[in-house]
Every structure is written in structure tokens, then in C-alpha cells.
Symmetry: C2
Subunit: 349 residues, 2 copies
DNA sequence: CTGAAAGCGCTAACAA
DNA sequence: TTGTTAGCGCTTTCAG
């Protein structure tokens, strides 16, 4: 059907520009990578030619030569409010430093392996491994690959690879103290996945602190870090013989579900029960929830992670960074003027 | 401080493997890119050598030669629940096809330009431009760059570049009809940003349909597509002299805020007012909201976008795809047994 | 300050 | 089937 429409834009190279500007290819290259080494005069000629021809330096070729891609990879679970916020923070922080973010998101932990294959091939400048469902074998594998890896919020990874994480234990410990200050006498903990390292740390922090006040902390497993899992977990609380004064939840998203699940069973926070979350998602501040939670210093964690990646040559050994979060005091642990149930405490010596 | 610790892993190349396996470099390359062209025997030897040396083909070099990066870029707003869900869908869909997603997220529309600079340099296989705050000048610029661009949910971009989007007008029209079926006699529309093309289309669909029933649709601008903007916009409804029977909101996130804002003013949906959203976010299904909304067929849109990108060579001209959404019927438009206010309609002839 | 030349690691004719 | 050869577009000595 007629002549081939020359849609394919013949990409202009530094050679083309050099020809037009009457200089060598090397000079054109220098104009775009080390401008101070080219006479102002020549530079102008080259830039004009480049502009006119629509020349744009080829980052692929540059990377091949320089062995630096200026791309950082991130292996992150596809779902979950929390990860999305982390991702967004990473992307912005990297952009500020002229780095790009190559995203590998996965649903099943199965696919992590595929993602890592790609990672290796692309010779990235660094790699962020998020999610506690990434097996140790993957960490080990990546460590040997020569690129600088940092595990994000995977406390268990410390020692194997660089890692940054929020202080889970201190976080839930703080929350527990806050609850004690509200006068609770009993509590329960709703975790996401029992064998996730973050889950364990968070439980430990809460349990230890409550134990000091003589309060036991039964563990309930929601089964996933999702709203639905939290919603369903509410039945465990609703059906319990003696309902706890407070529920500490391992993540905000689960906490939202639990909150709504309890409400559907006629149990309202903070009137009938106190609820705390963990993460500090934007939604925690939504009026519909106004959840007391531990806000992760995401920006700090992200900056630390990036710093580790960019300095990885200058350090031997693994670095471990732990940042502490701050409590967001929300409605769900605020004892209203007419919330007297907590006073109906059974007497203890 | 002692000898340099050889931390830098000398990356093994196909040459190294070739030497060890006693074959030519080309053969090694073939084993990894066109295995069927190598004798099973040789192949085994090569793979063994590669395995032993930890060889991984270099995707950068491959890309330089083949002019295909297998990377698709996405320019997406950094914030917003909706975009995060789109992003996650893209990333998964691409992964299934062995493509990677290079993420460019931006806060201010200002930074879009910087992002596009990077995009050009990386010679991506394709580019997804999301967000209606991306100016036309950028679209034009990218169109000339030779890579296949597709605008995502930017109806206004149709004709300039390829585009896929949900049928905004049909969507709000459907929602409006649903509201009419509930017997409303008045309504208001809360938009995000008045001059966004999606905002206009969504308003138009709603207004046109309601007009046919003789109902006017005043437009209220929230100012942003955020929860907070929606929360604040609620005051316009609360302070109005005659409160509308229903509020149609341009996005779910804004609708959540509006919902909570109204509640804080003592107005509950669906008892006192009906609310509809748009997008079909996961949170719309959360029991705390259970919002009636138009669910975007995100997966379909994403697949269409990817299809356009991968077939871009075979098509001349711009393609425009429009997919229709489906209504999610939630609590916020469900007239309960004791919700009689809608019956108290003032008589109309 | 500028040019010539040698690759970075791989793919793809073309020969053998 | 396998090897040889010539680049992909750029950076970077090394001369001039």
C-alpha cells in the first residue's frame, strides 16, 4: 500500500552530529559528558548541530562503557498499601539524585526468582529487596552478584546483606506503653503472617512490655497483611469469652480490616476496645479510621538505603541501619469522656 | 591498610566462558540467545562452564546491539491511590511478557520534563504517560522521539498520541441513571481539578443524563484528587441551603474524604444523602465505605496499552482505545428500609 | 583543546 | 554446527 512511511526515526548518533558540526565524534561526546574540557566556541557549534538534528545521547551505550547504569532496582510485592508508599518514596528520592528506578513487582514469592534473573542481567547500580517473603537463598545469591543489595524492612536479613529497617520491637513496645497509660488490663495481638520476621519482632516488643505490667498477649494470626484478613480476624475477638481491652495489630492495613470487622459485630473503638496499627499509612489519618499507629520514618529509611547503595564501594562488610518510628495518636486509643468500660476493671491486688 | 580486598567481582563475559569451554565467544552467545542453533553437546559444555564461573549475559550490551531494551517507561504521579493501583497492574502485566518497568514518578508537573529527558536517553521500548497534568507539549515532544507512546486515561491526548482510557462519560452517565432509579430529585458534582480533561468528561456524562430528567448538576471543585480535598469540599454541601439528594464525585479518593467530611457534619450516606465515586479502588470495597463507584477495567486498559506499545511498528497513525467500566453497587446509594427522606420529595407536576 | 583509536559485551551476517 | 568478523554508540587514554 504505497511507499513505506519512514516512521522509524533513524536515531542520530554523536557521529552524525560531529559531521554536521565539523568536529570529531569524541568532541561531541565530551560536550555531553565533560563540557568543561571543550572550548566554549566548539561547544556552541556542537550544541547547535545536536539541537538541530534532535540528538540525544544514548544511555545504553554510555552504560556499557562506564559500567554504571544509574538505575536502581527494587523488588517489591505487587500489592499492599504500605509497599506502594515505600515505592513512591524511593522513586522520588532516586529521581532527585538522577537515578532511575527499575521496578520488579511480584505476586507470588515464586516469581521473585525470575525477577532476580533480570536484575542480574541489567547490571544495576543497586538493588532494594523489600518484603519479608524473600527467602534467604535469594539474599545469598544476590550478595555474590557484585551489586550492592540492601534489604528493606527485613530485619532477619541483617548480617547477610546490608539492611535498613524500622525498629519493630521498640515501636510496638512504645505502643504498648501508650496502651498501658490508657489503663488497659488485657490485650491481644493480631499478626499478619506468623513466621515473617517483622511479625515476630513486633509481637515481641509488645508482649515484652505488656508482660512487665503483668498482662499476657495472646497471638492471633490473620493470615495475610490485608484488609480482608483483618476483617475476618475480627471474629476471633468477637467470639472470645472475655474481650480484651485492646488489640495491637501488626500492620495498618490489617488494622483497618479489623476495625471494620469489629464494628460490624457491634464493637466500636475506642468505646469498646482500643486498637493500634503499625506503619503509619496515609489512610490512618483518614477521619473514618483515625488510627493510633506507629509511623515509620519512610523517608529516612529510604535515604539510608540509597546512601548505602551509593557508598557500597567504600565499605567492607554489611551495614545495618535501624530507624525508630513515632507514635501517631489517633482516635482508636483515645478514651472518650463516656468511655468508662476500662474503669470497670476487675480488681487486681 | 593491607592489600585491596578484591571486592569488585570481575564480571565474567562470554569470552571468559568461551575460553573455559573451549569454544568461540559467538557460540557462548548463541547458547543464551538461540539455543536451538547449538549442538546439545556443546551446549552442555558451555552451560557448565557458565554455571561454574557465574556467568550472566549482559542485558546492556544486548540492548545496545539489538536496539531493544525490553524496558517500558511509565511516567506517573507520585501520589494517589489510583495511580498506585495502575502502576502495580502495569508492572505485573509487563513482567509476564518479560519486560521491565522503569518508573518515573513526579510530584510537581514541573518535573515531568526532567523525567522525559531521561526517558529519551534510555531508548525504552515504549512509554506510558499517565496523569492528565502532563501538558500537550510533552506529548508532542515524545511523539517525535521515535518511541511508542501511549497516554493512559488522558482522553484529551487522543489524536496526538496513542491513547487508552476508560469511558468517563458513559461511566458517570451510568452512575447518574442508577441514582435516578433511586428516586433522587437533586444532585451535586464534586470534581477534583476543574480543567482536567477527565474531570470535564465525567461531569459531562453525569450532567447530561441528569438533565434529561430535569435535574441540574451544580459543580463543586475540590481542588485536588485527594482525600483531604474531598473532606474539605464537604463543607460546601453542609452549608448549602437545600442539600442535594446525591453527590457524584469525580474520584474514589475524593469521595472517601467527602464521605467522612459529611459524616463529621452529621450527614450520613445513604440515609441523608447518596454518594458515588469513580475508579473502583480496593478501598471502595472496605466495609467502612462500601462505596458505589464506577470500577475501571484497569487490567483491560493496561493490556491494551501494552499491546499498542508492542505492535507500534505495524500500525501507522494513532490508536485510540476506550474501555467501559462497570458499576459497583455499594451501601452509599442503597436506600435502606428506614431511609425515607427521598420520598419527601417536593411535588413536581 | 581536539582527534585518532581502542574497546565495553553482545548479536548477526557470512564463511568454513 | 561453529568460527570469524564487524559493528551497536559511547567513553577514554594517548598523541598532536
Amino acid at each position: 500500500m504505497g511507499e513505506t512511511v519512514g516512521k522509524r526515526v533513524e536515531s542520530v548518533t554523536s557521529h552524525d552530529v560531529a559531521a554536521k558540526a565539523g568536529v570529531s565524534q569524541a568532541t561531541v561526546a565530551r560536550v555531553f559528558s565533560a563540557p568543561d574540557k571543550v572550548a566554549a566556541n566548539t561547544q556552541r557549534r556542537v550544541r547547535e548541530a545536536a539541537e538541530a538534528m534532535g540528538y540525544v545521547p544514548n544511555a545504553i551505550a554510555r552504560s556499557l562503557k562506564s559500567q554504571r547504569t544509574h538505575i536502581v532496582g527494587a523488588v517489591v510485592p505487587a500489592d499492599g498499601e504500605y509497599w506502594q508508599s515505600v515505592l513512591s518514596a524511593f522513586s522520588r528520592a532516586l529521581a532527585e539524585r538522577g537515578e532511575q528506578l527499575l521496578l520488579f513487582s511480584f505476586d507470588d514469592a515464586e516469581h521473585v526468582s525470575d525477577a532476580l534473573d533480570s536484575v542480574e542481567q541489567y547490571r544495576l547500580d543497586g538493588l532494594v529487596l523489600a518484603s519479608s517473603t524473600i527467602g534467604q537463598e535469594h539474599l545469598v545469591r544476590m550478595r555474590g552478584s557484585g551489586l550492592s543489595v540492601v534489604a528493606f524492612n527485613q530485619p532477619a536479613a541483617g548480617g547477610l546483606v546490608n539492611s535498613v529497617s524500622v525498629d519493630d520491637e521498640a515501636g510496638t513496645s512504645d505502643l504498648a506503653r501508650h496502651l498501658l497509660a490508657q489503663g488497659i488490663n488485657s490485650a491481644a495481638f493480631v499478626g499478619g503472617v506468623a513466621d515473617a520476621s517483622t511479625d515476630r519482632s513486633r509481637y515481641r516488643g509488645a508482649a515484652t512490655t505488656l508482660a512487665e505490667a503483668g498482662i499476657a498477649l495472646p497471638y492471633i494470626e490473620a493470615g495475610a497483611y490485608t484488609y480482608d484478613a483483618g476483617y475476618k480476624a475480627a471474629t476471633h475477638i468477637l467470639e472470645a469469652n472475655d474481650r480484651p481491652d485492646a488489640v495491637m495489630v501488626a500492620s495498618d492495613e490489617v488494622a483497618f480490616g479489623l476495625h471494620d470487622g469489629l464494628r460490624s459485630g457491634g464493637i466500636e473503638a475506642p468505646h469498646d476496645i482500643l486498637i493500634t496499627g503499625f506503619d503509619g499509612l496515609p489512610q490512618a489519618a483518614w477521619a473514618g479510621y483515625d488510627l493510633t499507629t506507629l509511623v515509620q520514618p519512610v523517608r529516612v529509611l529510604v535515604d539510608e538505603a540509597i546512601a548505602i547503595i551509593s557508598n557500597s564501594d567504600t565499605h567492607e562488610g554489611e551495614q545495618v541501619r535501624v530507624a525508630t518510628g513515632t507514635i501517631r495518636h489517633g482516635r482508636t486509643t483515645r478514651r472518650g469522656i463516656d468511655d468508662h468500660h476500662l474503669s470497670k476493671r476487675e480488681d487486681r491486688p
